[in-house]
């Protein structure tokens, strides 16, 4: 072990020696600096390893040969080792990144940089308060120097503001320190911690000044305008160092001095942190400059960390785990993002589309964004989980709400930015220059997010039992992304099949049903992937990630495992959805609704865990506190995924704009994750009563019924075929919710069987319509027509699909509906039943329109030569049709096993089976007989039509004979346009986008608020100083309750 | 007692000098007033039995700082004149 004092001696010695280097020796100076920083990193990492692996004891470093408090001492403990490692690594890679710039600047530049790293190292290790002050000054002077590495009006002004602010702050710090000395006769932090508090008010005030200065160093809202200016103007490499280095070290100082504060002060601190977290993310909403945006995010994240410190009384021994996992995520991600920004060199986030020119950087960009928000497998995910769980166990719901709102706001701008980078047009942008010394640090930090994430999960008592193999397989596909589609597709199918084979014996109950939907369904939809040519980069990792998440839901033994899988699935599906050409806004709203839903689930799981001995899923069945809330939170969380009315606005766009084979994945398979969640929830918790008399499930039943009607109505009024299907999914998921809400054997039987058939018919329809769209290059139905002649196979698919969808006999959709009405009758929910019945009628409307507008009528001129849909898109369709027909002819092959699964939970009121003859309380039904009868009728009618069809008269499509004016747009006179105009007149008011409007209003309001708040940052350095002083006075008043 | 009187006088003079430094329109006067505040402070330090501090304040606080102020001020003035 190298003594930690050598970190200081090396950095300082080299800094002093650099003065000897002339201008011609800049490379030498640079090399020496890098070596020194590398050595410093080595020392601190060696200590860190010593603490982790060999359980070393912390070591004090005494200076001047005297024991403290008589001389200054430093401490190298576990925490210090970690933080100095972070700082030195940031310094090392930061220097590598800034290599060219530093070389141009010369030895003064190296000196400044080493000075900053040195200062940060000492403020982490020192145990002497005045020494802390001195080295804080060192780092702030050095920072002021770093800011002006690029010299222009902006950097100089920002640097000056920074100097003004830190000048005031350190003055006040000094004042506090000297009075602390006066009252205690010591400057040693350990002595202060032993004294803790004195009866004299002056001592309390002195401590307050010390602590508030450290808080101010952390840039609390609103006294942080100076910090933002620095982030915006400084060179990105420098901003990375400030964000990763200075913020990290200042955080540690706060952590170190935390015990000095009274419990009241800790609460104030938590409040400051939360205000900063929410305020800063709110103001970030309107920001378009990437570096300033990162500044807002950085300040916000530090605010979150401050909140965690303030709440340490509640978090207890988990404080360290939570704070560190979030801090390290922030450290890695923020440095990485700033570094990327330095390569991209664009001052508008919209111009970041240029990032697509470099795949590696694009991937890293995504990794950092997800790390920052706290998605698995990154460390902050586990930190946030523990944070919310521990706060819930202390009944601190206010903080949970605040933290989750802040995170959501951060998600808004970060994902918008990611969306811009992924989707906006970058055709006319010149490429940017990429140098290896700039990419290397970013890549290392990107890899580190995974390593640290794995490490963090391995030391978490519950995270370590999660099965990470599916996710690892998905990530492995990143490495083979260069292979052609057919290879990757085959591998993906094999992987899924193998995993299903491996998992199959362990599946039982509903897990088996949904496992089949997820995995068999996944394999079937993947087959369509063979239709794609080339490499189809970035598809397979995310498709498999989504399936990994879905599998994880079924495998989950603990609530953490479930939530983890849920988030993995969200990430995967987000990237699948955003692949669509016009998907950017829809993917964003999908992500935001998913995040919102996930946070509700998180809160729900957290409250459910209160007082439990473990996190097993089974704990949901005996929730000890606020069970109604847990139920509502989880249910609403799941409903965002099933797109219930009110939470559905993300779905149509996301599903409709997705690629041909992605639409069935997200619409037919992904939505079932929400259903699976609801099934799990309903089984575990049963019904809950609000205020003792209103049943939540009863309300959900209404919601399901209304969703079914509205979803179908909206589907009926779509012009876009895929949108129509998407809305239809909303409707069907409404049925399912309604069925589950019946809480009876038949209700569940219908809900689960519709889940299965919905997977089949919706995949079928989306694939078929997707195949058509693939060929005709439009999704507007009135632009199609008559395609039956060109695409008979697709026509047949759609025909089968809509028959099942509309619940017509003979196919299995009918059996579902039949059971449905039986269940409604048994439950005596007549009104809701009527709504469901009504929605069934509307389903006829849109299914008819779908087949009529697309396949019947006259063929468009431009479609005369159109070919049948690609072979590989037809294959899965006909596989599904085969299964559908089998289920229809032999319905008990589907219903009987499902009934068996349901029986343990709802033993009474099931169907009685004799062969294919099912008997319920209200009647009987024989699938096979119906199948034959209907087919007979159908054939009869068909023959009759063929014979009589010759008399039919053809009408031109654009026939305007009956109109008095020349149409403004040709489609207005097309019969297939606004097909149900008369219905729209009658009930169109119901489908006006009020809900969409409401959500848009919320978004606009938040943006306007953010815009209003950020006006306090008027750019005047003096105003910022006034903010600082006012902040001190106000926090003083809050802390002491008066002067 | 005499020390007390000197202290009071020094204090008053320092406060006046400080106010002049903040309020006087002429920058040169302001700089000199700030330097004087510092200089009187070093006298005060002698009274407070702190000769080391007095020496430092006199040489650095009032001496060098004022000098640098003037350097910069003149640079700026000349810069203005050139426009």
């Amino acid at each position: 072990m190298v003594a930690p004092i050598y970190i200081i001696a090396t950095l300082l010695g080299v800094a002093f020696a650099l003065g000897l280097f002339g201008k011609k020796m800049n490379s030498m100076a640079g090399l020496l600096s890098v070596v020194a920083l590398g050595f410093a990193s080595f020392i601190s990492l060696e200590w860190l390893a010593g603490f982790w692996l060999y359980d070393r004891a912390a070591e004090y470093i005494y200076t001047a040969g005297f024991k403290p408090p008589f001389s200054i001492n430093l401490l190298m403990g576990k925490d210090e080792a970690l933080f100095t490692s972070l700082i030195n690594i940031a310094g090392f890679f930061g220097t590598v990144y800034l290599w060219d710039k530093l070389k141009k600047i010369g030895s003064n530049g190296y000196v400044t940089l080493m000075g900053m790293i040195l200062g940060l190292n000492v403020i982490i290790m020192t145990r002497d308060l005045f020494n802390l002050f001195v080295f804080l000054e060192i780092s702030s002077i050095a920072t002021a120097g770093l800011i002006i590495f690029s010299q222009n009006l902006k950097t100089i002004a920002a640097g000056f503001k920074y100097m003004l602010a830190t000048g005031i702050i350190s003055g006040i710090l000094l004042l506090g320190i000297i009075f602390m000395y006066y009252f205690t006769g010591t400057l040693n932090i350990d002595d202060f911690l032993a004294v803790h508090s004195l009866a004299v008010k002056g001592f309390g005030v002195a401590v307050f000044f010390v602590l508030i200065s450290i808080v101010l160093e952390l840039k609390p809202f609103p006294a942080n305008g100076w910090g933002l200016d620095v982030y915006e103007s400084a060179d990105s490499g420098i901003a990375a160092m400030i964000s990763a280095g200075t913020a990290t070290a200042s955080f540690f100082v706060m952590y170190k001095l935390l015990p000095l504060g009274t419990p009241q002060f800790h609460m104030v601190l938590a409040g400051i942190g939360l205000a900063t977290f929410i305020g800063s993310n709110l103001m970030g909403l309107k920001q378009t400059n990437p570096n300033r945006l990162l500044g807002y995010s950085s300040i916000g994240q530090v605010g979150l960390l401050v909140t965690i410190l303030g709440l340490s009384e509640f978090l207890g021994e988990r404080t360290t785990f939570i704070a560190y996992s979030i801090l390290i995520s922030h450290f890695l991600a923020k440095a990485g993002l700033f570094w990327i920004s330095g390569i991209v060199k664009r001052s508008e986030i919209k111009e970041w589309a240029v990032l697509r020119n470099n795949r590696l950087l694009l991937i890293l960009f995504g990794v950092f964004i997800f790390t920052l928000i706290g998605f698995p497998p990154f460390p902050s995910f586990f930190g946030k989980w523990d944070l919310v769980l521990n706060m819930a166990s202390n009944n601190q719901y206010f903080w949970i709400v605040g933290i989750l709102i802040g995170s959501l706001l951060e998600g808004v701008y970060l994902f918008r930015w990611l969306g811009y980078a992924l989707k906006l047009d970058n055709a006319e942008m010149p490429a940017f220059e990429v140098k290896w010394n700039k990419v290397l640090p970013i890549a290392v930090f990107g890899a580190a997010t995974f390593v640290v994430g794995y490490f963090v999960s391995s030391i978490h008592p519950y995270a370590k039992i999660i099965n990470y193999i599916p996710l690892a397989v998905a990530l492995a596909f990143v490495l083979i992304d260069f292979l052609p589609v057919y290879v990757k597709n085959t591998l993906a199918i094999l992987a899924m099949a193998y995993y299903y084979y491996y998992l199959y014996p362990t599946l039982s109950s509903f897990g088996a049903v949904f496992g089949a939907i997820f995995m068999v369904g996944g394999i079937v939809t993947l087959i369509a992937g063979y239709a794609f040519k080339g490499q189809r980069r970035g598809f397979y990792p995310f498709a498999l990630m989504m399936f990994a998440g879905l599998i994880g839901l079924i495998e989950a033994k603990t609530t953490l495992g479930f939530f983890y899988a849920w988030e993995v699935m969200t990430v995967g599906s987000y990237f699948l959805i955003i692949r669509g050409k016009k998907s950017m806004p829809h993917a964003l709203s999908y992500m935001l609704f998913s995040m919102g839903g996930a946070y509700l689930m998180l809160a729900g799981f957290a409250i459910a865990s209160v007082g439990q001995f473990n996190l097993d899923m089974s704990t949901l069945s005996h929730v000890l506190v606020h069970p109604t809330w847990v139920f509502i939170l989880l249910a609403v969380g799941f409903l965002t995924k099933t797109a219930s009315l009110g939470l559905h606005i993300w779905l149509p766009g996301a599903h409709a704009e997705a690629e041909t084979d992605v639409s069935p994945m997200v619409s037919a398979i992904l939505l079932k994750a929400g259903v699976f969640g609801l099934v799990t929830l309903f089984l575990a918790m049963g019904d809950q009563l609000i205020g003792g008399d209103v049943s939540v499930i009863y309300l959900l039943g209404w919601l399901g019924a209304i969703t079914a009607v509205m979803g179908n109505l909206m589907a009926a009024f779509q012009e876009d075929a895929k949108r129509l299907l998407a809305y239809s999914s909303v409707g069907v998921l409404g049925y399912i919710l309604f069925g589950l809400s019946l809480m009876s054997h038949l209700g569940w039987l219908s809900a689960v069987s519709i889940s299965v058939t919905h997977f089949m018919f919706k995949s079928l329809l989306f694939l078929a319509i997707g195949g058509v769209v693939w060929r005709v290059k439009t999704k507007e139905m009135y632009r199609m027509g008559g395609l039956i002649k060109r695409m008979p196979f697709s026509f047949f698919s759609v025909l089968i699909g809509i028959i099942v969808l509309a619940g017509l006999p003979p196919l299995s959709g009918f059996s579902g509906k039949w059971i449905f009405y039986n269940a409604v009758m048994a439950k005596e929910w007549y009104l809701q039943g009527a709504l469901i019945f009504f929605s069934g009628m509307i389903a006829f409307l849109y299914t008819f329109r779908l087949i009529h507008s697309v396949f019947l009528g006259q063929l468009k001129d431009e479609h005369r030569e159109v070919k049948e849909a690609p072979f590989w898109i037809l294959v899965p369709q006909y596989m599904i049709i085969g299964v559908l027909l089998y289920f229809s002819a032999i319905p008990n092959s589907l219903l009987k096993p499902i009934g068996k699964i349901i029986s343990p939970y709802f033993p009474t009121g099931g169907l009685e089976w004799t062969g294919q003859h099912a008997v319920s309380t209200y009647g009987y039904w024989n699938g096979l007989v119906i199948f034959y009868i209907v087919i007979a009728i159908f054939v009869t009618v068909l023959v009759w039509l063929i014979i009589n069809n010759r008399k039919a008269q053809k009408v031109k499509q654009f026939n305007i004979v009956f109109a008095a004016e020349r149409p403004f747009k040709p489609e207005t006179s097309h019969y297939a346009y606004n097909f149900y105009a008369h219905y729209r007149k009658a009930i169109g008011i119901l489908v006006e986008p009020k809900i969409t409007g409401w959500w848009e209003g919320v978004a606009e309001w938040a943006h306007a608020m953010g815009d209003k708040f950020r006006k306090i940052y008027n750019g005047n350095g003096q105003s910022y100083l006034i903010h600082i002083m006012a902040f001190i006075v106000i926090i003083y008043l809050i802390s002491f309750g008066g002067f | 007692m005499i020390l007390l009187l000197i202290t009071i006088v020094l204090g008053v003079v320092m406060l006046i000098a400080a106010l002049i430094a903040v309020y006087n329109k002429d920058m040169k006067t302001a700089i000199i007033a700030a330097g004087l505040t510092s200089l009187f402070a070093s006298v005060l330090y002698v009274l407070l039995a702190a000769p080391d501090v007095a020496l430092t304040e006199a040489s650095i606080g009032s001496g060098l700082t004022t000098l640098i102020f003037f350097y910069v001020y003149n640079k700026i003035r000349r810069n203005n004149a050139q426009e």
Binding site: I5, A9, L12, A15, F16, A17, G19, L20, Y62, T63, A64, G65, F66, F70, S71, I72, N108, G109, V111, T112, G115, L118, V122, D128, F130, V134, E137, I138, I141, A142, G145, I148, Q151, T184, G185, T186, L187, K201, G202, F203, V205, I1026, M1029, V1033, L1037, F1043 | D52, L55, T56, S59, I60, G63, L64, L67, I68, F70, Y71, V72, N74, K75
Partner: protein, 234 residues
């Protein structure tokens, strides 16, 4: 005006906030805490007659190292600003008053004496008031005087940085010697303690103070020189 009243309000608030500090002040009769230890044992432990020096150089020597670093960094950062003016622009005008014959003559006479004074101050830092910082500042003021009187005069930048660097490195090195030969980083017992109250006493303190004096002097001179040379910086 509204702005100023608001500021006044804030300032009054701040004054009210610091009031408890003044209010809790009580005159002391005797030393307590670490100061008591320094007073009673400083003589044996460190051997410097000037207890302030003992505290500055030994007990809190690490702070002093930091302090030196601050000046070093300030000088480097100022250098960063001025790096553009690599080509030295000649400016014959004095900084704020005309360089007269008297001044030139006086400076010839005074500068060596001031420098000697500075050296005296830092060499005797462990015995009498003053030390490396004060001495360094005095030396720097001598150079400033030179600059005032003879603006055309060039100092060797190289020399200044070499002195600065060598003294800095030696300081760190002596600190490290403390680990090897004595109780810890910056321990002054690496040299003989000598007789209390004489020039060659207090172990490494005189050496360190000389180094500090040289370093501070060269740093401050560097700052002044840099300022002077930054005539036209774009």
């Amino acid at each position: 005006m509204l702005r100023n009243s608001l500021i006044l309000l804030v300032l009054l608030g701040f004054a009210a906030a610091v009031f408890p500090l003044v209010h809790s002040y009580e005159a002391k009769d005797t030393l307590t805490g670490v100061a008591e230890h320094y007073a009673n044992y400083g003589k044996e432990e460190v051997g410097a007659a000037n207890l302030v020096s003992a505290v500055v150089v030994t007990y809190r020597g690490f702070d002093t190292l930091g302090e030196v670093t601050i000046l070093f960094l300030a000088s480097a950062v100022i250098g960063l600003f001025l790096k553009v003016s690599e080509t030295h622009t000649k400016d014959s005008r004095s900084v704020f008053f005309k360089s007269t014959e008297i001044l030139v003559t006086a400076s010839r006479l005074l500068v060596p004496m001031i420098m000697l004074l500075g050296a005296y101050i830092f060499i005797n830092g462990h015995l009498t008031p003053g030390g490396g910082f004060q001495g360094g500042a005095v030396i720097a003021s001598a150079f400033a005087l030179l600059l005032l009187s003879r603006p055309q005069k060039q100092f060797s930048h190289k020399l200044i940085s070499v002195i600065e660097s060598i003294s800095g490195i030696t300081f760190v090195f002596i600190g490290l010697l403390g680990i090897l030969l004595a109780g810890g980083f910056l321990d002054n017992h690496i040299f003989a303690m000598g007789k209390f109250g004489t020039l060659l006493s207090a172990g490494a303190i005189p050496i360190i103070y000389i180094l500090i004096g040289l370093k501070v002097g060269s740093e401050l001179t560097g700052i002044v020189r840099n300022l002077k040379e930054s005539q036209k910086v774009g």
